[in-house]
């Protein structure tokens, strides 16, 4: 079995090897040659990877990862990692299997910080500058070059496109959603979505779902951007007695590049509605900033300083069934976790074994670190 090409495996056998490699490695292998790229795209696309659920408790600085499989007692297997001894830590995001944490304090535990020694391309993570908290966005990119870099978005770029009255962030605008190569946030009255293209730093602005205007947000409802299967969504939340209602709107995908999409008016469609009995201070709520975690939608309940986390299987919400998606009443689901600390954020998470970048020098106002979860720390 010799060949001019040294790699003479039949496709089926090659696929067996690919299936045993982490997604991150598979992505790099697409660079090797066209045959490899085509095989990876056709046979082991990224959709095959089922993300785990990662819950981060701000108050205690602990991260929990739940695997999808249930144990014999019906509970999900979970692993715990401790990052900070004190509170005041945000998990900014997960990307490429890494956790990006932000804190005003020095980390008490910094596992496995390694030199960035291979060709790796990381997605960008965008954070608000907490000292000014308006208009300014920093993006932080880990590229194949071994230094990360901060970029401050010029305020002028934003002033030109957003009317003054609407120029600040929406109340719940601490949720920045990065999908499709752009970071999005809602304007003050939640009438528009601002999108910062992380590639060329162009800023565009487009209409939020029409329902937002009708409801006179934020008086009667709250809005929040969310990530639905890596597409942009808006949650519109309304309190009615005796129930709270959440409508999920999703930006239609026209299949084109984002620049092209932004030239035409955005098309929003309502994908599902969730109901929950409204008991003041004790209802369940959708977790942020991701609406979907694989097939699941997560909800949380916080009462008396404790946190409960539930999951409910919803399937693929990107499939449009004419807005007739089943309404859920109440927002039920199996219990994933009960913890005595509050402030839970949830992310989909895919483990990786790739090397970590070194933390670049950062602004004095905060510490940003990238972590990989390795081995159980519980």
């Amino acid at each position: 079995m010799s060949d001019v090409d040294g790699f003479s495996l039949p496709t089926d056998a090659f696929v067996e090897i690919l299936l045993r490699l982490p997604t991150t490695t598979r992505r790099l292998l697409r660079f090797v040659c066209k045959r490899w790229r085509d095989t990876i795209d056709e046979r082991v696309p990224d959709r095959h990877v089922t993300p785990k659920i990662l819950a981060f408790l701000r108050e205690s600085g602990n991260a929990f990862v739940f695997s999808g499989d249930q144990q014999e007692d019906g509970r999900c297997e979970q692993q715990m990692w401790k990052f900070w001894s004190s509170g005041d830590v945000d998990l900014v995001g997960t990307c490429n299997g890494l956790l990006c944490l932000r804190s005003g304090a020095e980390p008490s535990y910094v596992p496995h910080r390694r030199r960035h020694d291979e060709q790796r391309i990381y997605s960008a993570i965008t954070v608000l500058n907490p000292s000014t908290y308006q208009k300014i966005v920093f993006t932080f990119t880990l590229s194949e070059i071994d230094t990360g870099s901060w970029r401050e978005l010029p305020a002028a770029a934003l002033n030109n496109i957003i009317p003054d009255a609407d120029s600040s962030f929406h109340d719940t605008g601490d949720v920045l959603v990065t999908v499709d190569g752009a970071t999005h946030w809602l304007t003050a009255r939640a009438e528009r979505v601002v999108a910062l293209d992380l590639d060329d730093e162009r800023v565009v602005c487009f209409e939020a779902p029409p329902v937002v205007k009708l409801l006179k947000v934020p008086e009667k409802a709250t809005c929040q951007l969310t990530n639905v299967h890596e597409r942009l969504g808006v949650m519109v939340m309304r309190q009615h007695t005796p129930a709270a209602r959440v409508d999920l709107w999703m930006l239609e995908d026209d299949g084109g590049h984002r620049h092209r999409r932004w030239r035409s008016p955005p098309r929003w469609s309502r994908r599902c509605s969730l109901m929950e009995p409204s008991i003041p201070g004790d209802g369940r709520w959708i977790t942020s900033p991701h609406f979907t975690h694989g097939e699941y939608v997560l909800s949380k309940r916080e009462a008396g300083g404790a946190t409960w986390l539930y999951r409910h299987r919803m399937g693929d919400l990107t499939k449009n069934d004419g807005g007739e998606k089943a309404q859920m009443w109440p927002l039920e689901g199996e219990e994933l976790m009960c913890n005595s600390r509050a402030g839970v954020m949830t992310f989909p998470f895919v483990e990786t074994t790739e090397p970590l970048p070194i933390c670049p020098p950062l602004e004095p106002w905060e510490v940003i670190c990238f972590f990989r979860l390795e081995g159980s720390k519980s």
């Binding site: 040294g6 090897i17 490695t25 040659c33």
Partner: protein, 186 residues
């Protein structure tokens, strides 16, 4: 491992004897014969297990036209070594059924077994294991190859496996662009 074809024997008596034999004879694409323990073959290969159970084993050597003699020798060698080692219970269960149990690290002898193989021999063995439904051998061989890929740049991988880069500079840049915003989350 190779045995001569017993041509002079009386077929009838041979058939009776075969039924009680604890080995099966396999024939490579180039006509060489190999003998392997029936128990190990049935335990390690779903395809051979099916053939044994279904009575489609040829006493004069079951034809495996897709597998060359070098690869078949390695397959048989692996089966015999496996029969002699004392595998853990978990290992047995994962090699019998097509389940999605996490891959167990190769044992020391398995590591040595694949380490001594040339690239070509290793690739042929992956193919043979895939064809014969030998989940464990497939795991061990694929693990070895995936280890050769991990932590390497595309350039290094091309060098290791002697692969020609058929991309133009522009095409590579295009993939880089695609990858730049690829999240692994959802």
């Amino acid at each position: 491992m190779e045995v001569d074809k017993g041509k002079g024997e009386a077929e009838e008596t041979r058939k009776v004897a075969e039924a009680d034999r604890d080995t099966v004879t396999l024939k490579s694409s180039d006509g060489k014969l190999f003998e392997v323990s029936k128990e190990a073959a049935a335990r390690l290969s779903t395809v051979l297990a099916g053939m044994i159970a279904g009575g489609s084993i040829d006493d004069n050597g079951t034809d495996l036209k897709q597998i060359g003699s070098e690869a078949l020798e390695n397959v048989v060698d692996y089966c015999n070594k496996h029969a002699n080692s004392i595998p853990s219970a978990a290992l047995i269960s994962s090699s019998i059924s097509f389940n999605t149990a996490p891959f167990k690290e190769p044992e020391e002898w398995e590591r040595k077994f694949v380490d001594r193989l040339s690239h070509d021999a290793l690739f042929d063995l992956v193919e043979a294991a895939n064809f014969l439904g030998m989940e464990r051998l497939l795991d061990v061989t694929c693990h070895k190859i995936s280890e050769m890929m991990k932590g390497k740049s595309p350039d290094q991988i091309r060098e290791v496996f002697n692969i020609k880069n058929d991309y133009t500079k522009e095409e590579l840049e295009e993939i880089r662009q695609e990858l730049a915003w690829a999240f692994y989350d959802d």
